[in-house]
């Protein structure tokens, strides 16, 4: 089943409430999937800095003295620990070095995602516990997506939780199941993409990353996804400034959207949207099958 949510703010006055609003939306969707939950939030970016979200099964060991060890390895960084996750902030020019340095000094640490603004938190457990563990309610930002999982395609693990991030400031949540993911994964590996799991949704994320690397914008990549991905899907996707939604042509996975002057919101069910400000007067609709919806802060500006 799975429950997915997304919130893209148009009104910057709501930004301090993004984590709170998105957390409540996700918790409302708990009974669509109890296995794992995750949230990605596009927070404030700092000029010249980039950040990497990492996760560890042994945070007390892996995160101890991490800042010092990174500096000793020649990578000055700031480390902010949140439970099993930590955000490593580095000079933007050094972002590409983080993975290789971590591989040598902290080989067990997993990279959840990276970019100028995105932070990704996901763990096994219910949305309310995951949200509390990472204090997601206190986070501010411009847009975010969330997922609560009922596993079908691969194991219930932290890495198998959504959102999946396969490119800088990109992430995806998926409700459904793909049927051509093994073949597509092989093709994407040949193109140079790396995979962390056997999960079908990670393939969808990597597909979009690969297509956008070829010069497509998010909307264009979602359009070709309709031809190249086979199976059931409702995707909600975030990029640094964009937010997209697409459903497969059969469209059996539920989706409801709401738009006001202040935001665009997505929920697997209307229940997820009922606490949003001004929902009574929002335009509420079910996204059409095989139709790409996307919004971009840079285009709007």
């Amino acid at each position: 089943m799975c429950g997915i949510v997304g919130l893209f703010l148009k009104d910057s006055r709501l930004e301090p409430q993004l984590g709170q609003l998105l957390s409540d939306m996700l918790i409302t969707m708990t009974d669509r999937g109890p296995d794992s939950a995750g949230i990605a939030i596009y927070g404030p970016a700092t000029d010249g800095r980039a950040k990497v979200t990492i996760q560890s099964a042994k945070p007390a060991v892996d995160f101890a003295d991490l800042e010092r060890d990174l500096a000793e390895a020649g990578l000055p960084a700031r480390v902010a620990i949140k439970s099993t996750h930590a955000i490593i902030s580095v000079a933007a020019a050094r972002l590409a070095d983080v993975r290789s340095v971590l591989a040598s000094i902290r080989p067990d640490v997993r990279v959840m995602g990276s970019g100028d603004s995105v932070e990704i938190y996901k763990e096994i457990g219910l949305p309310k516990d995951v949200v509390a563990r990472f204090d997601a309610r206190s986070m501010s930002g411009t847009h975010g997506i969330g997922h609560t999982r009922m596993a079908t395609e691969s194991a219930v693990t932290t890495l198998g939780a959504h959102p999946f991030s396969t490119g800088s400031d990109q992430c995806l949540v998926h409700n459904g199941s793909l049927s051509n993911h093994n073949n597509l994964r092989r093709e994407l590996i040949r193109e140079g993409m790396a995979f962390e799991t056997q999960n079908d949704s990670e393939v969808a994320a990597a597909y979009l990353t690969a297509e956008m690397a070829k010069g497509k914008n998010l909307g264009e990549a979602l359009t070709t996804a309709l031809d190249d991905l086979d199976g059931f899907f409702t995707f909600v996707v975030g990029t640094k400034s964009g937010f997209g939604v697409v459903r497969d042509p059969i469209a059996c996975k539920p989706a409801v959207m709401a738009e006001t002057d202040q935001y665009v919101a997505f929920g697997s069910e209307y229940r997820a949207l009922v606490n949003l400000p001004g929902i009574e007067d929002a335009r509420v609709w079910e996204p059409e099958p095989a139709t790409v919806y996307f919004w971009d802060h840079e285009k709007a500006a």
């Binding site: 469209a251 059996c252 209307y270 229940r271 079910e286 099958p289």
Partner: protein
């Protein structure tokens, strides 16, 4: 209505606020109504997208739901009159037996699925699979419907004032489909059929019961089964 009568009718009405009352209390109260009871007027406030609101009604009660509902609202309705003053999630009035269900807003996928009787009126649009496997229900949609609607429809009527999506009436049996706007595509074995006087008469009756004004039955086209898929025929293998 004078003030005293109005007060009396208000007192007879039972209000369930789903923000403070569990859904099961509403549905239990609906199921506990004995035949012949006068206390049959229900108001549901703050549904907030709840699932299974007012399912399993088997008495001629009137239920007004003030807001939008989630999955399976008014499912299995047998004789009740349920009005949703908002939109409905998937499977509204699924397997209705008799009675009337009115959705003032839009309905999500498989509205009226497998319905055996009664009238479902959707004043907005309905999404995909509207009336899938309908078995006697009448459905009137003031707006448009999505793809695969009336798939395997066996009997009953589907009336659409707007447009129909892809594969209308795929693998249709004897449900009768009336569409006023365009049909994106017809499903396997569904064809346009002649509108005869008895169809115009039935359509006029359904439009009237669904509160449709200023629309003439002559504006619709009728679609039905070509009856080529009833039995397996090797020449039709490509259509399966």
């Amino acid at each position: 209505m004078d003030a005293s009568v109005k007060r009396e009718s208000l007192e007879a009405m039972r209000v369930f606020d789903l923000a403070s009352t569990p859904l099961r209390e509403l549905n239990s109260a609906l199921h506990a109504i004995a035949p012949g009871t006068n206390d049959t007027n229900f108001e549901v406030v703050n549904p907030r997208g709840s699932h299974a609101v007012a399912v399993g009604i088997d008495q001629p009660v009137t239920v007004n739901v003030r807001g939008s509902v989630g999955y399976y609202c008014a499912g299995m309705n047998d004789g009740g009159t349920v009005t949703v003053h908002g939109s409905a999630g998937p499977g509204v009035a699924e397997n209705m037996m008799s009675g009337t269900v009115v959705i003032e807003g839009d309905a999500s996928q498989y509205a009226g699925a497998t319905g055996r009787g009664g009238l479902l009126v959707i004043k907005g649009n309905a999404a995909s699979r509207c009336g899938i496997s309908m078995k006697g229900i009448d459905i009137v949609v003031h707006g448009s419907i999505g793809h695969m609607s009336a798939f395997m429809g066996q009997s009953g009527h589907l009336v659409v004032l707007g447009d129909a999506g892809d594969a209308l009436g795929d693998s249709l049996y004897e449900a009768k489909l009336f569409v006023r706007g365009s049909v994106k595509s017809l499903g396997a074995d569904c064809i346009e059929k002649e509108m005869r006087p008895e169809h115009l008469k039935k359509l006029a009756e359904l439009l009237d019961r669904a509160g449709v004004k200023n629309v003439r039955p002559e504006e619709f086209k009728r679609y039905g089964s070509a009856r080529k898929l009833y039995n397996f025929n090797i020449d039709n293998a490509d259509a399966y």
